[in-house]
């Protein structure tokens, strides 16, 4: 029962709603693949060791660090980046709108990661109060220290999300 080890690995995945397949060097991280091979530069390469959260993307709906994930580990999975948040017509996702409305950034470098983490934080049900948001958003660092505005934006987006779900019932 020997396994075939390869230096050129095939991977098929769904990226922002589109099916893709690629042949990659196995050491390629999801982050490097998105930025260098696909040209999606929203996810940022901040620390490249899992400390800063600027590379946060969703894999099968769960937030993960793109720098700590090999693209070969995403075989058969669905990856969503910040570029996949807005609607096709360009209408912003409600979390993006809340960040703009609340001035939840200064330089904007961490914002793509903050947005992806916020989308997941709300879906997980942890966007309930300031303390919970701060705990469950702690994997995303903002060196400009826009934390109060980010916290307010996440809570506002969560309220709007809940209202929309209620209205759709």
């Amino acid at each position: 029962m020997t396994l075939d080890f390869t230096h050129r690995a095939e991977v098929a995945l769904r990226l922002n709603g589109r099916d893709l397949s690629a042949v990659v060097s196995p050491r390629t991280t999801l982050l490097d693949w998105l930025r260098d091979d696909i040209g999606l530069t929203g996810a940022k390469k901040g620390c490249n060791e899992g400390a800063c959260g600027t590379c946060t993307v969703l894999v099968d709906g769960r937030r993960m660090n793109g720098c700590l994930t090999l693209v070969v580990q995403c075989e058969g999975r669905s990856v969503t980046t910040v570029e996949g948040l807005a609607a096709d017509g360009g209408e912003l996702h409600l979390v993006q709108r809340a960040f703009a409305d609340h001035d939840a950034f200064q330089c904007g470098y961490c914002t793509p990661g903050q947005l992806m983490s916020a989308v997941a934080c709300i879906a997980e049900g942890y966007a309930t109060d300031d303390d919970s948001v701060r705990e469950w958003m702690s994997g995303n660092i903002c060196r400009c220290s826009a934390y109060p505005q980010i916290t307010a934006a996440v809570l506002a987006a969560a309220r709007e999300d809940a209202q929309m779900r209620e209205a759709r019932r």
């Binding site: 029962m1 396994l3 937030r63």
Partner: protein, 357 residues
């Protein structure tokens, strides 16, 4: 990161079959391995991916045991109702580890194999200073340098590092066993014996060995005896979230039912959330307690566990018991504060587990 060859394992056996070659590494979540590769802590010619093995997934009761698959992520464990109900200290330890996005990748199989956060060890190659873990025989820079975060038990002059895993402390206090698959077949390793202090490793003639896992063995899961005892995991750190512990403590407490019934008219399971007034009447029937980030292994306070039955569940009564059990602490010049901090964490974990705080 150096190039490597990659294969997806189809079965646990096929993965183990590749590990006879010491140049092969296993990847599950990858949150540690990829950083080891980047820093030069590990290098592999081949990486075998076990992430697709469904038989290593899942959290379920198996008779009286809670069975947690090696590929269960820290968030899956922390949020699972079976774990919060029967192994609350483990759930709490998992959710206090790392960040939300790392917890979605990091697996419980790999978590206990993470290596020390000692900054001298974690430097990028070429290493600018001696470190016996990175370059055996070169020396320990931390011993003569900064070591305020290092061990107070079990260290040697060759290495003073601590094991930083939060879940490992809970697994040790809950008497979990690791299911392991190796070339000779399956076996189990009690988690309270899984890690080795530097002194234990030296006595065994392998001073840099860190666990009882043999080369070529793979953790496939854990079994924990389900427990209705109150449990807690207390993590003391420099900021409230997303930080390694300075010290931590896990505890499980069963209260004396007869006394508890007299004091509160409820069983032990109802003890959580009771006020301090009722707690004055309560005595411990049985308790387990372990410290984290004080040694290269979770540090069970067995002497305290022998003494705790009959002890009132109060800070005043618990402090001397814990202090006696920690009498053999051997702090380094810069980390004497960890002895006091660990004592207080153990007391707080016991009080919380018993429902008194």
């Amino acid at each position: 990161m150096r190039d490597f060859a990659y294969a997806r394992a189809g079965t646990p056996e096929s993965a183990v079959g590749t590990l006879a070659d010491p140049g092969t590494s296993v990847i599950a979540g990858g949150t540690e391995l990829l950083n080891w590769f980047r820093l030069g802590i590990a290098a592999a010619d081949r990486v075998v991916d076990i992430g697709g093995l469904d038989e290593l997934r899942g959290i379920a009761m198996d008779g009286d045991d809670l069975r947690v698959g090696a590929l269960a992520t820290l968030n899956e464990i922390g949020e699972h109702p079976l774990v919060t109900r029967t192994a609350g200290a483990l759930a709490s330890a998992c959710l206090q580890a790392a960040s939300a996005q790392i917890r979605n990748r990091a697996t419980i199989g790999g978590n206990v194999l993470q290596r020390t956060r000692c900054p001298y060890f974690r430097a990028e190659e070429p290493l600018p200073w001696p470190c016996n873990k990175r370059d055996p025989g070169s020396g320990c820079t931390s011993l003569a340098g900064r070591h305020e975060r290092q061990a107070i038990f079990g260290w040697t002059r060759d290495c003073v590092a601590v094991q930083p895993s939060d879940p490992a402390v809970a697994l040790a206090v809950l008497d979990a066993r690791a299911d392991v698959l190796g070339p000779a077949g399956p076996r189990t390793i009690p988690m309270r014996e899984f890690h080795l202090t530097q002194r234990e490793a030296a006595e065994a003639g392998q001073p840099m060995r860190e666990t009882r896992l043999e080369p070529g063995e793979l953790i496939t899961g854990y079994r924990l005896p389900a427990s209705a005892d109150g449990q807690a995991y207390v993590k003391v750190r420099e900021r409230a979230s997303y930080e390694y512990a300075i010290v931590s403590a896990a505890a499980s407490v069963r209260l004396d039912e007869a006394r508890a019934a007299g004091a509160r008219g409820q069983g032990a399971a109802g003890a959580r959330g009771q006020g301090a007034a009722g707690a004055r009447e309560q005595r411990i029937a049985a308790a387990r307690v372990a410290l984290g980030s004080v040694a290269q292994r979770p540090w069970r306070l067995t002497a305290a566990e022998a003494e705790l039955p009959g002890t009132p569940l109060t800070r005043e009564a618990l402090i001397p018991v814990i202090e006696r059990a920690m009498a053999d602490a051997a702090p380094l010049p810069q980390n004497g504060f960890k002895v006091t901090m660990a004592r207080n964490a153990a007391v707080r974990a016991l009080l919380t587990a018993g429902g008194a705080s």
